[in-house]
């Protein structure tokens, strides 16, 4: 069985694990960097990106996650996770993991009272996805290697670059697993090349 780790430092962790297990994969809470060795794909969940970054620094996660990525193992960042994987952050010279060629603005849609739900058309999904945006970021621009999967009012809110997937919204807060399945497919594909047991 393939194992998906969810970075368990802070945020909506249990929601992801529940969905991963419902989809027939093993879900693991990742609280120590060594655990990255045991997983086939990593989800960086929604939460407060500054708090998560802080704990990633303190507990030595930055380089191990970069190593994990350099092995082409899939990573899925939701909301704060999208902020954490971006190459560039608008209004800051301090981007975090720099794994994807996107320029991200934090809290881009405004404060919590501007948080919203919408039915969002997503490339690769037949029907629109019930997207929940919470103090969400968006990507202002993306490099040529990035495949844009969804935009909202002309801003990039879901994208893929090679083995990295991001969404500004929260698939884990809905009962709709189609977006997660896009990631699980990426993990299956990557496992084939590494010979992990599916």
């Amino acid at each position: 069985m393939l194992t998906i780790g969810v970075l368990g430092l802070q945020g909506a962790v249990s929601e992801h694990i529940k969905q991963i297990e419902a989809a027939g994969f093993k879900g693991v809470l990742v609280k120590k960097a060594e655990q990255l060795e045991e997983i086939d794909g990593l989800i960086i969940p929604g939460g407060e990106s500054t708090a998560i970054r802080n704990l990633m620094n303190l507990y030595g996660f930055i380089d191990p996650v970069k190593d994990f990525s350099s092995k082409k193992k899939p990573i899925f960042g939701t909301c704060a996770g999208m902020v954490l994987v971006a190459d560039k952050l608008n209004g800051s010279d301090d981007a975090h993991l720099k794994l994807m060629d996107i320029n991200v603005t934090r809290n881009a849609f405004g404060r919590q009272v501007e948080s919203f739900e919408t039915d969002l058309p997503v490339k690769g999904l037949a029907e629109p996805f019930p997207a929940v945006f919470i103090r969400a970021p968006y990507a202002e621009s993306a490099g040529p290697q990035v495949e844009v999967l969804a935009t909202y009012r002309d801003k990039i809110v879901a994208a893929k670059q090679d083995h990295i997937l991001v969404s500004a919204f929260h698939p884990e807060l809905t009962n709709d697993t189609r977006f997660l399945e896009l990631f699980l497919e990426m993990v299956k594909e990557s496992a084939k090349t590494t010979g992990a047991e599916v």
């Binding site: 945020g11 909506a12 909301c79 919590q112 009272v113 501007e114 919203f116 739900e117």
Partner: protein
Amino acid sequence: MERALGTEAVKRGMAAMQKGGVIMDVINAEQAKIAEEAGAVAVMALERVPSDIRAAGGVARMADPRIVEEVMNAVSIPVMAKARIGHIVEARVLEAMGVDYIDESEVLTPADEEYHLLKSAFTVPFVCGCRDLGEAARRLGEGASMLRTKGEPGTGNIVEAVRHMRQVNAQVRRLVSMNDDEIMTEAKILGAPYEILLQIKREGRLPVVNFAAGGVATPADAALMMELGADGVFVGSGIFKSDNPEKFAKAIVQATTYYTDYKLIGDLSKELGTPMRGLEISKLQQSDRMQERGW
């Protein structure tokens, strides 16, 4: 594309993003920045922390909007603020200012001794205190999107928060083990909305995040509350009433994340300086017990 604001998913989801984190009381921009840098997931903007509210006496109201605004401008993490129980206008003012979450709080002097706010009528989400499942379910019925224990704020004494967390969780376990035909009577006994209890029974858990609050004074206190099943921790007077707020704040954040790593908690607790001076709950006058406010 059409969008819907202030939906249940958006309000409850916001609280879910705070899980495993620490929300810190602050009274100015400088404290807010210390909290953010220490890894707080949100700050609660106040005019006075609970222990100073206790000391000052008199009527405690919503903070001066200038303080709330100052804090909002200082940090990028969410900013919460407190409104008095039942004070519709204080809550609407905070909502209009763009505060990210409102705490309808017993720490302030209640504006209404009979009715709490109808929180479902607001776009901004609310957190409310509870001591037991009946109180939790009533607040959910009114539209609270997040719960916290009441504890006994501003005392630096964890005993009441422990009591309330254990009580709610024990009552949830009891409810889950009940037959469906027993739920209506349980609703009557608890004074709780029947539909909410039914939902909790079906899902096996509270439908929203439940944090610990009211007496957390040390990293070990924060870890204890996580051990007892809290989704995260509010720290009121504990941080900025300690000798070294910066170090203290960081230690509480780490103890909350790694709450079962006891060696780490031991290391974090070394030479933290004096925590806030605690109060013995039994020495409090009945009228000074904030947890009795609201119903």
